[in-house]
Symmetry: C2
Subunit: 295 residues, 2 copies
């Protein structure tokens, strides 16, 4: 495999694992990390690199076709660690019915694909509103409306606490404590939480909260926090090892709390998107084994 | 007064308060809001606009001269709501002595100027380190070393919790809870906290923590959170009313907890810096009265 860290064919300090390497047993590729690949190309890329699991995005599923995506996934034998994403539940009452309807459709898609969970990006402040507590209450109300339907269809809603950077415009659930307290109001098969290193690494209560989350953890996503902070906040995630996050400590916490699921690499980064996809994927595999590795 | 919100001389929706308006009794201008003004110009600007208090920056004090700044402030009758800033305490042991020495000098300057407090931006992860808990412990150790010296000189150290956005590179104290728990280990005359709306507005525990902070609150700084997030994260603060923060609720919390100090407008924003200073200051005054007003 080629590798974006290895220019001119020089050997890497740390060799890229081969597809049959048992250390890849829990690695998942979130499809947006290699954004230009279709569902079919991402599945082929995972198979070639020895990655046994994939996180899919609804836009790419729609482009490729839901039924075709389902057949491609089934033939591949890949696990679907998540479907991204449902949510955007904070709108005014007039928007409620449409938000519920869209999220039911997202649940149906996740069910059709056999996904472990549907990631919920809950939404920011509605346009013109500064009432953050009210937006947070609406999230809770609408999760309550969706949760039984999700579980009936075999899909766990995975509430994603987002970095406070995104509180105004993407996600008013800003801490793992909020996400866990919300999830705990429901049966575990209905609502879990996402633990994403990029969103949560700064939290002084992280160890306590990961331990408390325990069997509520529906997905574990990894990406690094890099500085200087990139000009586009949405594309500010880095490859593991390029930034400030202590992934070894994070992985230890996940081991200690008994997490047994996949580790999904989810990075939105303009440089990685510009790189040749197979080469970028080789770097993902290498950096995962070097910095994160859950066994 | 002119006003950057009032083009072509049209009347503002909300008139700019006159210098003798009693609603300005607790307003303070953080000097960096109008970054091109010297200490002398900022003092004149405050007097002309009826602003009775000022937050000073050490770089501008050094340019203007400490003794000259002291005399200018004394003659003006302005209060000094803060000196910005001390801190950067997270470096390795080899850098400890220099950090302590620099902070003692900052304390001396704050004392000479009769400042209410010295704002402490505690510092991010040291270069090459990913050990966030260790960096946080070093902050505590070094605050403990500085705190008695500060109080002996009549200066309160004001620990500033910074938005988690800045955890890696500017401030590892990310929540008001961390800052309050740190401050509570010391006598109140030694260590307090800064409450800055920009850094803290997203915190789901804000009301509880502002109430707990109570007499520990050394400074109250205001600036808005704007979207889309600007390309330079350091210049991402907005004029009150231009963003997503509910200042009325914030001011209510501050009232309820018995805060009696000044309200310092601190905005780092390229557009405000590019505006004509008196016009920008008129907008500060108007927006303070319209959105924040502590009486």
């Amino acid at each position: 495999m080629v590798d974006i860290d290895v220019p001119n064919g020089k050997p890497a300090r740390f060799p890229t694992p081969r597809p049959d390497d048992p250390r890849l047993a829990r690695l998942s590729l979130n499809q947006r990390t290699i954004q230009r690949w279709s569902v079919g190309e991402a599945v082929e890329g995972c198979l070639a690199a020895g990655i046994p699991s994939i996180g899919l995005w609804r836009e790419q599923i729609a482009e490729y076709g839901l039924d075709r995506s389902r057949r491609t996934i089934e033939r591949s034998g890949l696990r679907v660690s998540s479907v991204c994403r449902g949510g955007f539940l904070t709108g005014p009452e007039a928007d409620r019915a449409q938000a519920i309807s869209e999220n039911r459709q997202a649940i149906d898609e996740a069910a059709a694909l056999g996904a472990r969970c549907l990631v919920m990006v809950v939404g920011g402040l509605p346009a013109g509103s500064r009432d953050l507590p009210a937006a947070r209450r609406r999230v809770e109300d609408r999760i309550a409306e969706l949760a039984p339907y999700a579980a009936e269809n075999g899909v766990q809603l995975a509430v994603e606490p987002m970095h406070p950077l995104f509180c105004a415009d993407r996600g008013v659930i800003s801490t793992l404590r909020q996400a866990v307290e919300l999830a705990e109001r429901f049966p575990v098969e209905q609502v879990g939480v996402v633990i994403d290193t990029f969103h949560l690494w700064w939290d002084p209560d992280l160890a306590e909260l990961v331990s408390r989350a325990a069997e509520r953890i529906a997905a574990f996503q990894v990406g690094d926090w890099i500085t200087p902070f990139p000009a586009d906040a949405l594309l500010s995630r880095g490859m593991m090892g390029d930034g400030h996050i202590d992934f070894q400590s994070f992985s230890s916490l996940m081991q200690q709390t008994g997490y047994r699921g996949d580790v999904e690499v989810e990075i939105f980064n303009a440089e990685i998107w510009a790189a040749e996809p197979k080469s970028a994927l080789a770097t993902v595999v290498r950096r995962y084994v070097e910095h994160v590795l859950l066994s």
